[in-house]
Symmetry: C2
Subunit: 358 residues, 2 copies
Amino acid sequence: MSSNSSRRREITVADVAKAAQVSKAQAARALGNYGAVSEEVRGRVLAAAEELSYRPNELARSMNTGKSNTIGVVVGDIENPHFGLATRGITDTAKKSGYNVILINTDEEVSAEIEAVRVLLDKRVDGLIVAPASSIETEHLQHVHESGRPLVLLDRKAEGLDVETIAVSMAEISFESTRYLLQAGHRRIAFISTLKTETPYRTGMVLDSSQISERLEGMQRAFTESGLSFSEDQVRLNAGDADSIRTITRGLLLAPEPATAIVASDGLIALSVVEAIQELGLSIPDDISFLMYDDFSWTRLTSPPLTVIAQPVYEMGVAAAGALIRQIEGRKPAANGAGFSARLIRRGSVAMPRTARV
Amino acid sequence: MSSNSSRRREITVADVAKAAQVSKAQAARALGNYGAVSEEVRGRVLAAAEELSYRPNELARSMNTGKSNTIGVVVGDIENPHFGLATRGITDTAKKSGYNVILINTDEEVSAEIEAVRVLLDKRVDGLIVAPASSIETEHLQHVHESGRPLVLLDRKAEGLDVETIAVSMAEISFESTRYLLQAGHRRIAFISTLKTETPYRTGMVLDSSQISERLEGMQRAFTESGLSFSEDQVRLNAGDADSIRTITRGLLLAPEPATAIVASDGLIALSVVEAIQELGLSIPDDISFLMYDDFSWTRLTSPPLTVIAQPVYEMGVAAAGALIRQIEGRKPAANGAGFSARLIRRGSVAMPRTARV
DNA sequence: GTGAAAGCGCTAACAC
DNA sequence: GTGTTAGCGCTTTCAC
């Protein structure tokens, strides 16, 4: 081929040492910035390295030091802007401390997550950030933790796993949002989530996601405190691709007793729900009120702009990476105390339901 | 701490070998699935490995084989849905072939890109996918190529660098879109891009991005072929954060001779432009026509839905990873021939300009 | 400060 | 088939 240096063996410390007329050890010390090296030797070595355009082999370095300066990040779906933003927070923070990020997608499959974690461990990453696909099946994470590898959970808690977890507490904000909908007069409030379950939702059911559990719990509490019974039949799990969400939305709105408000569990769902509503020729909020999790820019562009539950996603990414790196470097956890909280941003997509209007 | 195995040395082939009462070599062969091993020995070794919960050290493995099964991906901004989607295509494809992905963000800074490439090379990735921040400053990429490391470019070409490049040809679609706007009666067509330049745009200026060059070239050709002169004073580069885009948009629309159509170079810009238009109390397409690159779901949700230039982003990610892996594994490039092309999706955001109406 | 030599955990010759 | 022995490119004793 055209590349002239293609087949040439890579330059190693030994080559540099020879060129600089010093021992391999001295060359390595100068290049690796450790141990004692005289200025004179250092100069010669660095010059030789430059001359030969020597580049250290980080793999070899990692093998000796046991440090790879790499962290593994395991998320459900990088295409989802929620994770995109969180990942940005993680990579930004990691880079500042000299860490690289290996990113693995699980499609929210536990089996893929198990595999991901194993691969990352085999690659000897210095630590892991995982947004667990399941809050219940957590043996593999437990295993990571027990092996002593630093681990930080993002977005969701894992049952019985006592590791640092960066997540917003959903119960409170869900309670608040639901109360807001109830006060507007809604009684049939639908909730749509991708969470996979074997059977349709029933109150008290054990769910695989701490986030969704908390949200449902908050909704329920709001109903109860208002002396109403929770519209559990309006909960729709197993929302998959755009098509299935569309079907679900139609089902909700074309029912004999249609939902009067819909809460979308994330931005991807929201997109399909709003589209389905428009297709049906219904209007927000006149015909149906709408509320969604995550405050993406596009939510301000629709007519009306959408009422959302904003989460500090980027900041959580930053916090997760910060916490992990602190663990890796054996420093004490920052007394960040508070934890993160979401807030309800009232825009124009919630109004009184038709039935309640004069 | 609670973890009982924290400080324990990791299990190695040697440990497994001893437990299975065979030589290190035989254990390694059984574990690594290479060489000749009798069924009997294999069984004993695997059992012992299981028992000790042995896990191979991929770093050590990589050192010997010279293969890390890792590819490096360098993009401008993972938070940008365009790259989010492309990255998904890359990771999906990589995973299928047993590769992992190290992701680095450059913020479109060449210096960060240079650093990123160096780090990745030091980590001995098997290949690189880069969306070059600059089409001109490409020595570092040239260097990668010369060193013989497989390299695939995404989205943008790099001058004088003869490597496989996965990108849509922008000149044609830009020409077509501009002609569409011209035919609707527009003469002052603005184009907003984040591309950094020292001086305002003038026709013929050498630009740092092949994508933008092609787009501008296409616009210009459309003007020329219609016997009109290109509204080069309507080109706005250096659009940075949301605020600066807002300022630019206002400038364009509040000028004595305001633009009648705006073309947004990507989804992030589009978001801010549309928002600014709404803030000004102007309406699309009555007061201003709008066209943007990339077809994100939210573009169908606004009123009216937006006319966009759709690019097969995910597929390009898939193609880039496929091409890279093919290079890595020394197979011949797929005769994928065609290359990718974008298409104009006419929705509701383009209409005749006020001035041209009866 | 310096150098020789011994690893890190694995693969790969090479003999038997 | 199996075991012995060298490495891979570095860091790290340990003498001097």
